[in-house]
Symmetry: C2
Amino acid sequence: MDEEKIQEILDYEAIQERTFDELKELLEKHDHRGLKLRMEDMNEFDVAEFISELDDVPMAQVFRLLSKEVAAEVFANLEPPDQERIVNSVTDAELAGLVDEMYLDDAVDMMEELPANVVKRVMRLATPETRTLINQYLHFPENSAGSIMTSEYVDLKKYMSVKESIARIRRIGEDKETIYVCFVISSDRKLEGIVTVKDLLLHDDDTVIEELMDRNVVFATTTEDQESVSEKFSDYDLMAMPVVDTEHRLVGIVTVDDVIDVMEQEATEDIELMAGMTPSDKPYSRTPPVEMWKNRIPWLMMLMLSATFTSMILTSFEARLAAVAGLVPFIPMLMGTGGNSGAQAATAVIRSLSLGDIEPADALKVLWKEWGTAILCGLTLAVVNFFKMLLLDGLILGNHHITVAVAATVSLSIVFIVMFAKLVGSLLPIGAEKIGLDPAVMANPLISTVTDAVSLLIYIFIAKLILHI
Amino acid sequence: MDEEKIQEILDYEAIQERTFDELKELLEKHDHRGLKLRMEDMNEFDVAEFISELDDVPMAQVFRLLSKEVAAEVFANLEPPDQERIVNSVTDAELAGLVDEMYLDDAVDMMEELPANVVKRVMRLATPETRTLINQYLHFPENSAGSIMTSEYVDLKKYMSVKESIARIRRIGEDKETIYVCFVISSDRKLEGIVTVKDLLLHDDDTVIEELMDRNVVFATTTEDQESVSEKFSDYDLMAMPVVDTEHRLVGIVTVDDVIDVMEQEATEDIELMAGMTPSDKPYSRTPPVEMWKNRIPWLMMLMLSATFTSMILTSFEARLAAVAGLVPFIPMLMGTGGNSGAQAATAVIRSLSLGDIEPADALKVLWKEWGTAILCGLTLAVVNFFKMLLLDGLILGNHHITVAVAATVSLSIVFIVMFAKLVGSLLPIGAEKIGLDPAVMANPLISTVTDAVSLLIYIFIAKLILHI
């Protein structure tokens, strides 16, 4: 077999594609039994991918073939518009079964995304217990540990033996999101420790939980921000984390798969804020232009209006700058260099703050580092620019306005502009973090607007010094 | 107890701080036995945090108190400079024990970060088997599945019973990175399926593995990019993933805690590229200015030099633009608006591509969406700008050059500039992805440089039409 052939067989995507082709064939032949057998064997994410590509009628048909447990998992893996299609095509009894079978955190996620009339129908059909729990979970603040936790965990008591604990896991473990971390609670549900299945398997049957449980538990409180939860998962390499209320009672757990989603979401939010957009909960592919406009226009408007300062400066000095021919055409390059330098510093600082690599207390260290970099960058750019202006713009392109004095003015401006830009770019995000704002808000577009105005002032000042404009 | 008091007791950070104070007290009292007991009880990450704050001598003292297993875990949690301090202060025998006790992926990570002379010493001291494995792992391409995998997994055979499997886990599980996912392999080490401990616990003792194993395994190949590995973890909610060679033989596994690090690293890389910086492996706090200069200067230089186009355009048209007073001062605002609009589109598209939300094949859909947004944004900005120029700049600030015709020229330019910027901002990253480049390279700074030049041309063209400059 040649390399390519092997690679094709090995590639998981290729395997997946072949599976989808088989499923479509079975569907066309109306071989529902074969289809059902094949799907029960597949990963729920792949089944969801397959189903989401079908039209309404075959979608409902195929979904009905799934067993209750698999159906709930597949449903949780569907995108909200596809969930809505399913909800609208199943009977009340089927829907009730589906909701009760889902993990609570998946059900809550679904409720937050579906339209109100669909949510009403789902809530009406859920069992009273599920309804109460969903309502309770929906009330935690958005992006809090409470809003991403689930209630399906294994709880143990400290006086149980390893044997009893394993028996309990075997009895109730089927529907739990994780069985590998079990939570030891007192009679009034206070969290006392955690035990992993590894601990249980590696100890004798009659060891008592109290002897082997880990009392030093990394936990979160219900109102804690999800970003702080995901930092702890990353620091402590956790699989699951208990969430407690103000009286240290265990109310839920967060599992690592949910944290991975949180991390993606938080990184996306940072990236969007840094580019001057209001973060959106919806993926790009499902955001209509009107909503994109709503997320983008406030920033564009603010930045456009704040550019008034730059145009005021330019209005005042236009005549004097124009008096020495050759100065005005370099304004965009100077502003661009300032903006880019500031953006680099701001981005590096914002990301380090959000990963916990630096803190506001490190402001001086950061400043030192950025100024060192600024001087190196500024000098390199200035030297290259000086010769580039004389040789390329002056000699080759034949712009006779480019004198040594003009080239020196532009080059010297670069040095100070880069230094100022790195200063603003690094300090603004740290200042934001210090007063409790998201540092990502102080990002590139805002910093460019500040550096635009100041770059211009620096340029005018140096032109006055050297060229006496 | 008042709310604040409760919060303080509950907060994990507060607990951690009190623990550190206790440890420091024990250290000052030279109560090594107490210190040892206290630390064995703590999470390894916290011990590492504590140790890293100490000076060289007490650091080595405290580190020696730890048992072999805990020491290896703590060591893996230290930052490279602290690892180096430890390596330089322990004996050869201690170092050999440490390396053999570490998980292979942690040892490989360490080797990649430590200076060459330290690596040499570590390699000389490792057992021949460990040395061979480390060498082999070090040869996988950077950022491949092979480079992040580990060899400490539980392998089973399909003819084993549940009872035999659990016995095997109990026997060899102690040193494995995960026991919760076990890998079923044939006699020639080909991957045949996976079994979770949950499956084992929920089945009878004499069920044969072949009957309960999942044959539909999501796997990676050794040379597969780590970004693709982390996407699969996120899609399929995995805890561990097998890595196979070209003959489908199991060579290692990747665990979810490593994937979390990969996700952070990949997001940081994207963010850095998007701000025009060469991504660095080192955290910001450990990157000296010279290295920061190396990562930043190529982009600044390229962008500075490519701004030559803008200055050429401005040189040619300066006189004609200046002929109608009031036009030049709005150039920076127009360029800024173009740059910001383009950056928004580029950022949204780059992030969606990297999360797998859209693909290059969606180019037309994206274009449609962005143009819809561009028209909405452009019109809103234009209308606000028109009245702002007449009222604020003209009436209030008393700039008598601002006529209706000038305001109309600037406002109409905004509409076309925003449309052009959104077009370039969304298509350049998609084009990059299509030809196999990282779309993040086509990010904000590069797009601003393009939109700067084109914004100017649009402005000049519209000024010619309306004001006949």
